[in-house]
Symmetry: D3
Subunit: 299 residues, 6 copies
């Protein structure tokens, strides 16, 4: 197997647009956006590769100020480092690239905020994150359990993301929030395991607050599959699942997370060309805006 | 008037795709899907003819397992018998074809689950159903009353569907749920008649439960015009009407129906090309998945 | 069978937009546009009903002046009388309406320029035209022969248009130009009959000129199915057929027709919602502009 | 600076379609629709110029009867006067045209219901309204504060609409309802000023009722930027903002307004081509239907 | 490396639609369609995976009769065997699957007509074809040279297709027709090598006839990348390249090929969702119709 | 009137993507791209403001090598300086900004290649160009004459572009090539004046060669309105006009220009969102690629 040979920041592709308010250089920034335009294992509707550029372009449609958090991106030093070109037909090598890229960010003291691309990129990110944060806890916002062991013979499919993460995560702590689709055995596993928060309609934020009580200060990583949202507000995703969540539900989650120690996040599965109205990209940009603020605030 | 000459199952067109988990043959199946790609009287935006193929294709985007009912399509024997080609410019002959097709299903001991096409197909279906189930009760989920006597001189328009059904239904029992658009006289008729449940926001399922209490065991047929849903979750329909319902509302309806005797159903008015995001077709497929399970469970 | 009861001009629906340069009234006009938003028998992709409104709206994207004919719509008195609402599920009654509407135009000394809608409307129009012009000759620009005797049992399908016209046309003279799709027997009929011009690539206009030589002064009616054009310039049509014609080919046809006696025309099968770029509607509007000028010039 | 020279009703462009149930003439009408297809300062996604024609065309997809108000458009005399052509590159002159047009309506005793176009048109309308109604109160339904003093050097941008209105409104009374996006200073101004209702989720109608209590009988003007709605129900707008409102919220607002004295309104920022499903235009048409009824009822 | 374990025809997925006129079984058929919905290495715009289903569905929009060849699909026994599910993230294993599937067809005496999917699938097909036909000659219709040795480190990218084919093709005979895009070194290679036909505008068919003269009777395989066509007639492809060919150019190519021994073909790179008008899929279906006829005719 | 206060290169907005092969800095570059996302006077279909970003993003879909010119962008030093934010509602001030921006490029010894935006931007560019090149000759590729004196009272509409250029161009030499739409008086002016090349189908390049013979070495500026192309290859433009030109026609024009002294160019009126297939943007990018090469080659 070929190995990725990313070595420094100059290897990122910065020919594209940048997120509203970001800087192209990394001076004194504490948070960095990185796009990973990869959708190589997506089995239903591809196009998550266009997520990073759509989010960046449509970010100019919202304000830099967030009334909920009463913060302004213009007061925050963060960088948008560009995107990572990956070898689309080779899932293993791609994850290698992503791990290396995450490492480079961490070595430069940049909290990673990765924009997918499909969900499987999280496997590569987490592999690097846990070397810095061995007691990491993961939060998953998602419509799907992603706990399959394989998909058509592949272990690196986006349908296996959380299974792979569980295998390498030392703490084995993953809170799965809002899951509403999966196989019978995935639901059995989620229900039986003490690791998981059950999906209780309208009560996600409260349950999460309860669950996180005993983990104050622990490093937390959020992996956000945008199909957690209801298809009506997020039609631009590969596998929309009816019966999802709305902005108010996410706002409540933010309120919980802001008193915890968020050290990184990814936002995945925006497939912008599926939604020509653009409301999906704008929602994703608003999510990113919140997460930049949360990452900047945390220790 | 020419008469339809459908005689047996071999007359259905099976060149198209089939619903996830279905079989092409009818061995021991108790439930059968049948597509009716007809939109000949639709007066505003045509395209419901593409409903059956879109629902079948997009069914592969959801799982076979339903967490709410804790059932899996893979454990259910059901068939997808294909679609019925109809003479689009001749409404009367078309309804004749549909009646005959429904009869063929019933004679083969297959509970019909018909995918429209426009709402007027229900007239043809009911005509056959009531010969097998003379004490039939109908449930209508719909945004529109569909109680007009005629539309531009035509008695078989989709705007007259429930009027025609009322005329031939021996029990005269139709529960109209969620209606929010109609003429003044249609609303008067719905309000005055004891036959109808009033439209009470957020209380549909509870009212339905109450209404059905005295009808335990009676054969029930569900006609589901998908524009009952809010346009935000179901934009792909001919006449979207603001102020509709969401997945949770339908889940509550399922919970009521599952303790009753559902013997057939149709799901109509998906016009998939109007919604290029595909969320409408996926929602319709999830509705169909639930109904297959309800039909298989019932006596 | 119900009969249409159109009696006078006030029965047309004029709630919609009008063609660039037209007047809403009929004072002294010699030419009249009439929309027929009917697509009731279309078997593949419906939407021709939206043709009239799209052509009217997009007509404002071109100029009133035509450099080829050196004429300006602003110097021509023509009216746009609105559209005819038809009972979509009843092909027979619909054609009745169309015949009556054509009669009303003729009685008001207005040369008809009918905007479809699907091709079958021509059957209704011709039925009235030949009472005024018994020695009528027809020109057909089309990709398809339309010579089937029936389609799924229906004799009034748009696939049977020219067959029906041939049956009622006293002269039996129809020049079919540019046909490139049909059944084997349709091609046999076209090739064997002396009635038809063969389809010779790039030579249509010249062959037409030759064919029309002996018919100077005879009343000519043009039925123009827009799928005659290549799908690249006219994607917005129900059954696009590769290998079609371009604007220059039509300009050459105009040059031939302008020295003959055009007494009416229809332009059918624009299905504008299939082409979100709008180039199909604009091309149709430019065709209409030419035909208004040709009709105004002729005796 | 050139001055607009609109003088009478004959100067409006009436080549387009009209709203369902409207009349082209103004006999005895008390309410008049007027389209203003202007989007000249829009900074993100243009296309609001297509609002008036889309609302008119799609109005035929809903009924004339409103079950909430138990009123029918067919019982109301209102006119649709057509649209105002404006010089797109010249914001100042455009507002002049709009003021003059509003004046013409008022002089003809027609309550204005103006369909945008972008939000900046309100500045021109209000300028004329306050000469007739010096004690006017404004209601603003909007996602954005629109209180900027300028945008890229322009004082007439749609982002400055309410700032300009405040400057000329004698009463200085503007109730801003549902605002969820703006700069930090805009939110400060809204929060500090007694002029504004705070944005309280789900409580808008109740707060409005309270706020209007002391203003019974005072003339009220409603400016409705359709991005107040959630992007899921109103994707067809230039700057959709996640976290908005639904039909039920608007229905509650109607219930409050109907016991007050509405003397005019505008509905702006529909950009219909952004939403090919058409649900945005249909929602806008239903809003217009309600407002025609409210305007006709009020003194 | 995992190995594909396809063994017999029952392993193909036949849940989807079939091509017009095809049979689901393989009795006595000499030609077989097979879909390969793979677009795993595509670097610009994915979606070729949807090619097979779009071509099948839209095939019903054209006739079974071809006037150019004077043949009718209804007189030809051919089968549509369904599609091959492939592991999208693993290019090597995918090609293995494709080779095995091709072998199965050959062993069943079925001439393969493979519908892509992206161009790289040709590598897998050819690998099997040359074991049956060691003196095979290839024809390539394409806009791009596809002669790169690698793309972002991958040797199995669709940009390397012809390079890989050249390496394994014993005869080294590939006629590359219509190439108009590539690197400088690709053009150098094409120009210098005697293996290649130069791209001469409008003269492709004549040059091909000349080139094939000395190869009468030799087995010929056609690989047809649909971006050979001009983007105006084939917009639905991943990397459209201005300056391409039209239907008449392909008709001329058919005329040359029909007197040669075509033993297999693939038609790749249709990306149907990029072209909502559907003209790309219909053109592809018409190409397929021609190729079925050519394959059936050849020895 | 406010005055633009652009002073140096740092004032350009460089948050967006850059053209394939370009550099963000200006070191030793001789050619510079600049985007002007302005469509403020466009009267029919807006959206040309999205031209610059679409051309940049889609440039990655073509190669850097041009087989016709046998040149490679990778061997050319050119910069992409970003885009110019303009005050959309104020045409006069906008043109001022554009003049100043052009001046800055010229002072930095960068040959301007401006990407529109609508055609009126040419007025601002030419105003600066002629101070450096008083004997400038203009070439116009366009479907429309653009010789109106005003449009709805505005002198700066894109319909007046060439009229305004003529007024300020000292040489009065403008070659208008391919014009096929205009008013009667515009055609009269073009035909009568010796300044203009007549529009002769298929002979444009030859006529241009003839016309330019006596101007060897004279500075030439090309203004390219992309609606010169046929709508089938360039649907993504505001006012597509049937009967246009193809890639081969442009390639012939390039062959003429390459032996002349091109000192600047603009490419305007791409409205990319009108064409979701992307073929319009890709064609525009290929045009830009050619022009970069021509500008780099010229003295």
């Amino acid at each position: 197997m070929t190995k990725s040979n990313l070595r420094d920041l100059s290897l990122f592709n910065n020919d594209g647009a940048i997120f509203m308010g970001a800087q192209r250089d990394i001076d004194q920034s504490r948070v960095s956006l990185l796009g990973v335009p990869y959708d190589g294992t997506c089995c239903f509707r591809p196009g998550a590769r266009f997520g990073p550029s759509a989010i960046r372009e449509d970010s100019y449609g919202i304000e830099t100020y967030c009334p909920q958090l009463d913060l302004d991106l213009e007061d925050i030093n963060f960088t948008d480092i560009g995107s990572l070109d990956v070898p689309l037909g080779d899932a293993e090598l791609t994850l290698d690239y992503i791990s290396d890229a995450t490492n480079i960010l961490l070595k430069n003291n940049l909290k990673p905020l990765i924009i997918g691309g499909e969900h499987s990129i999280t496997i590569g990110i987490i592999k690097s994150i846990i070397t810095n944060y061995p007691d990491l806890i993961m939060l998953q916002l998602d419509a799907h359990a992603d706990l399959r062991d394989e998909w058509l013979g592949s272990k690196l499919s986006h349908a296996c993301t959380m299974k792979r993460c569980l295998e390498i995560l030392p703490s084995k702590k993953i809170f799965q929030i809002g899951i509403r689709s999966g196989t019978k055995s995935e639901f059995l596993e989620m229900n039986n395991s003490k690791r998981f928060i059950q999906h209780t309609l309208g009560e996600n934020a409260k349950s999460l607050e309860e669950a996180l009580k005993s983990f104050k200060g622990r490093p937390i990583y959020l992996t956000f599959d945008l199909d957690w949202f209801d298809p009506s507000v997020m039609p631009g995703t590969g596998t929309p699942e009816p019966g999802g969540y709305f902005w108010g539900d996410f706002a409540a989650i933010i309120n919980v997370i802001k008193s915890h120690n968020l050290i990184g996040a990814d936002v995945v599965e925006l497939s912008p060309k599926l939604d020509t109205t653009g409301i999906s990209s704008i929602l994703a940009a608003k999510v990113i805006r919140s997460l930049i603020m949360l990452l900047d605030k945390s220790s």
